[in-house]
């Protein structure tokens, strides 16, 4: 394995095999990105169908049953299978470069995490073709889902169980990577903000996903194996599901929004050409948000009847989260303040993000007021609120970062002009869709209804909202076209594409070789690349080691086979309540495949391989011409 084929065109089969077996964080990052984009498009399409249905009163574009399936799959897909993998894509692509590592701590687990997520997602989407999708909302409250006929909820439970395991594995991997693999000199308080927020987001995954796993497992055995956790006639209690789900569900919001904060904390200093204002308070605020994120889950359950004491405590805790979030907002504004601002596409997403996200935060504090929440609960006000947070906060971050990091990920640039067009169409469409929904909610329109009667004052507002949704759809379509156009554009073969890069990922020449930095860089302060540029270092970085052999991990097909084993077992479990004879054998075969792969992995030594010094030099010359990466 020590010889390295470089620069040669590979056949389709070899390329495919390469991607199925890869453990390279950059390739896995791209795979996460495109898988996330695929599910983002599917879930967006579902949203468009819903908005078309609600465009006019008494519409019969989709049936009530299909509408329930659409709203369930839209929410589930967007949160678990679109936003999470898109952010994991950036984490994979950027974090190891930002900390100057060769790869993540557990490259094998990184690949396993991706394949579990992907096959779990595919399993969930098979429900559309195999007798109906889940239809109890993305929260899937047990009182509804326990009695939902058909296999929809079973697909939800099993699909999320598998993809959730993948997410948990990836989370553990990133925590360990950031703790142990930092380059010399990269102390915790010199870490870029995106690395910090990735660390915190992974820590939230670590503590938030087990309750979901447990809740899903209870639902699984209740529906498929006759257990009685949620069946009140047998002594069960459906409120347990609500607690477990929201102990997971609320931190999940922060799991998604913290990396988004991190991405903007990278984008804004680059284009304001100023050090991030209040770095240590940003770190502190990130940790505080992560901690408080676990203290507030019951604000989703104010109307469940936990009593005034519980409601008051959770209301106050929820309002407290506004403080660290406000710190972050002020720090971003003060970073821009007095900077020499360059308005590029990533920057304009950042500028659009700040007011949109603040609007979502303010309505959040309104709902934290428990008595008011009794009025707002289950109305369109809630829909407007969380879309302001998720689209205004997370999706703008993903789009902005797509433009920002495209040069590092693909050695191409996205078109700036088209980028601005996309931004304005999407941004106006977003506010058109959701701003007006606040008022729909205050006027009493409940969420999750498939139609409504005319002449309640809702007709015009719903129509406007649907127009906005179509604009968002056009915006996303144009963004995809922009990505496709970039394939045709010239390779950049440059470093520091935006000219004002500050952290380590900009110090590396694109295309990034599979071993990342040929010598591990020495970090001499916060914004290490900026420091080197200020001192006129032509080589990019000061290095911590001489050029030598590089140790890299081996690729493996086992993660894919392990995930396929789980995928097969899930089909067995799915059909267990149907009294078919083959369900238990299929479960055993599927799990057997997975366990066999684990044993193979344990019994076969995997020591990785070395890229020799001469091969590194040859590779650098083939990528960057004579003299290599200077």
């Amino acid at each position: 394995m020590s010889s390295v084929a470089i620069g040669n065109k590979k056949g389709f089969g070899a390329t495919l095999w390469d991607y199925l077996t890869t453990v390279d964080h950059k390739k896995l990052g791209n795979m996460y990105f495109f898988a996330g984009l695929l599910f983002f498009a599917i879930a967006g399409f579902e949203a468009l169908l819903m908005r078309i249905q609600l465009m006019v009163p008494n519409n019969d574009f989709v049936s009530a049953g299909l509408f329930n399936e659409l709203l369930t799959m839209h929410g589930t897909t967007m949160l678990f299978l679109a936003a999470t993998p898109l952010l994991f894509g950036f984490m994979n692509a950027v974090v190891p470069l930002q900390i100057g590592a060769r790869d993540v701590a557990f490259p094998f687990l990184n690949s396993l995490g991706f394949w579990l997520f992907f096959l779990g997602a595919v399993f969930l989407h098979l429900s559309f073709f195999m007798g109906g999708a889940p239809d109890a909302g993305w929260t899937s409250y047990a009182s509804l889902s326990l009695y939902s006929p058909g296999h929809g909820i079973d697909f939800y439970v099993l699909g999320l169980q598998i993809s959730g395991a993948g997410t948990l594995i990836s989370g553990i991997n990133f925590i360990v990577t950031i703790i142990t693999m930092r380059a010399p000199g990269m102390t915790f308080m010199r870490m870029p903000l995106f690395t910090w927020t990735s660390l915190l987001s992974s820590a939230l995954i670590l503590f938030a996903f087990p309750p979901l796993t447990v809740g899903l497992f209870f639902m699984l055995v209740d529906r498929m194996f006759g257990a009685n956790f949620f069946d009140h006639t047998m002594g069960g209690n459906t409120i347990i599901w609500e607690h477990l789900f929201w102990i997971f569900g609320h931190p999940e919001v922060y799991i998604l929004v913290l990396p988004a904060f991190g991405l903007f904390s990278e984008i804004i200093p680059v284009f304001a050409r100023k050090r991030l204002f209040g770095y240590s308070s940003m770190v502190f605020a990130t940790i505080l948000i992560g901690f408080l994120g676990f203290m507030v889950w019951a604000h989703h359950m104010f109307t469940t009847g936990l009593g005034p004491t519980a409601n008051a405590i959770f209301a106050v805790a929820t309002m407290a989260i506004g403080v660290p979030t406000g710190m972050k907002v002020f720090n971003w504004i003060l970073t821009i303040w007095g900077g020499s601002v360059k308005v590029t596409v990533p920057m304009i997403y950042a500028l659009g993000f700040i007011p949109s996200f603040v609007a979502g935060g303010v309505t959040g504090v309104m709902q934290a007021t428990a008595p008011l929440d009794y009025q707002l609960h289950d109305s369109y006000f809630i829909v407007a609120h969380f879309h302001y947070v998720i689209v205004g906060g997370i999706v703008t971050a993903i789009f902005g970062a797509t433009h920002f990091y495209w040069p590092i990920m693909f050695n191409r640039a996205l078109n700036e002009k088209l980028g601005f067009v996309v931004f304005w169409i999407f941004f106006i469409g977003f506010h058109l869709t959701f701003f007006i929904q606040h008022f729909l909610g205050l006027m009493g329109m409940p969420r999750r209804v498939f139609t409504y009667q005319a002449d309640q004052g809702w007709d015009l507002f719903n129509f406007i909202s649907s127009i906005g949704a179509i604009m968002m759809g056009i915006g996303v379509l144009l963004l995809v076209i922009n990505m496709l156009l970039s394939i045709k554009s010239k390779p950049l073969n440059t470093r520091d594409y935006w000219k004002d890069g500050r952290s380590l990922e900009w110090a590396i020449q694109t295309p990034v070789p599979f071993y990342n930095f040929k010598q591990t860089p020495l970090v001499r302060g916060y914004d290490p690349y900026w420091i080197e540029k200020q001192e006129g270092n032509k080589e990019g970085m000061t290095y911590a080691e001489p050029l030598g052999d590089i140790h890299m991990p081996n690729g493996s097909i086992l993660p894919l086979i392990m995930s396929i084993g789980m995928f097969i077992a899930a089909f067995g479990a799915l059909h267990h309540p149907d009294d078919v004879s083959w369900s238990v054998p299929v479960i055993i075969i599927g799990l057997g495949i997975t366990v066999a792969c684990m044993l193979t992995r344990s019994f076969k030594d995997d020591l990785g391989f070395h890229v020799h010094k001469e091969e590194v030099i040859a590779m650098e010359e083939s990528l960057y011409g004579k003299g290599g990466n200077k």
């Binding site: 360990v176 087990p210 069960g236 209690n237 477990l244 020591l607």
Partner: protein
């Protein structure tokens, strides 16, 4: 990493389990994994406590009359002792005594098997003789899932340690195998700690309160 490097007890590093980057990653990784497993068990414990003694109208089985302490005491002793023997194994690992590691790990597995056997016989007793099956009531479901999740962890630990013994019985210790033994022993201690909580919450509080 070179597997052929020969060590003597003198040249063997103080913290062999963390002497390489991979070892350090494994060491940190198993601790991080245990953090998430703690939350998993916490969720199941909370559910058990809220569903304890709950069942369909007229159910007459309660924890106080179902559960017995003598068997649970023997199981606790077996598992606690197995934790001690895995400490002996790690003591020999630190002193570069491969034979000691294998022997004490094997004893750990035997004690773990004893625990598992008693647990299975306990479950058999409850389901067959007491009519307290998995689908009997909310109480039975939560009892079997809580104790069973721990049992599943024991099974995984046994397969893991047995695999390590079989794989390394001939080749002994080096900087590649030491972290593997160490991670397995940390995991085994964790299982033991969880059992202490199960003994307290399910058995002691079940029988006495």
């Amino acid at each position: 990493m070179d597997l052929n490097t020969k060590f003597t007890p003198q040249s063997w590093p103080d913290h062999a389990e963390q002497a390489t980057m991979e070892g350090k990653n494994k060491f940190v990784g198993i601790w991080i994994f245990i953090c998430s497993d703690i939350v998993l068990f916490a969720s199941v414990f909370a559910t058990y406590l809220s569903l304890k003694d709950k069942g369909p109208a007229g159910m007459d089985i309660t924890a106080a009359e179902l559960l017995g302490l003598p068997l649970a005491f023997v199981m606790t002793m077996l598992l606690l002792t197995s934790s001690l023997t895995s400490v002996y194994a790690m003591y020999h690992m630190k002193n570069y005594n491969a034979k000691g590691v294998i022997i004490w790990m094997a004893i750990t597995v035997l004690l773990g098997l004893g625990f598992l056997g008693l647990e299975i016989s306990e479950f058999y007793e409850y389901t067959v003789h007491e009519g307290f099956g998995f689908t009997h009531s909310a109480f039975s479901s939560s009892f079997y899932v809580l104790v069973g999740t721990h049992g599943l962890h024991v099974v995984i630990g046994l397969v893991w340690i047995t695999g390590l013994i079989i794989r390394n019985i001939k080749r002994g210790l080096n900087l590649y195998t030491a972290p593997k033994f160490f991670a397995a022993s940390i995991y085994w201690h964790f299982i033991d700690v969880v059992w202490v909580f199960i003994f307290t919450v399910v058995y002691l509080m079940g029988v006495l309160g």
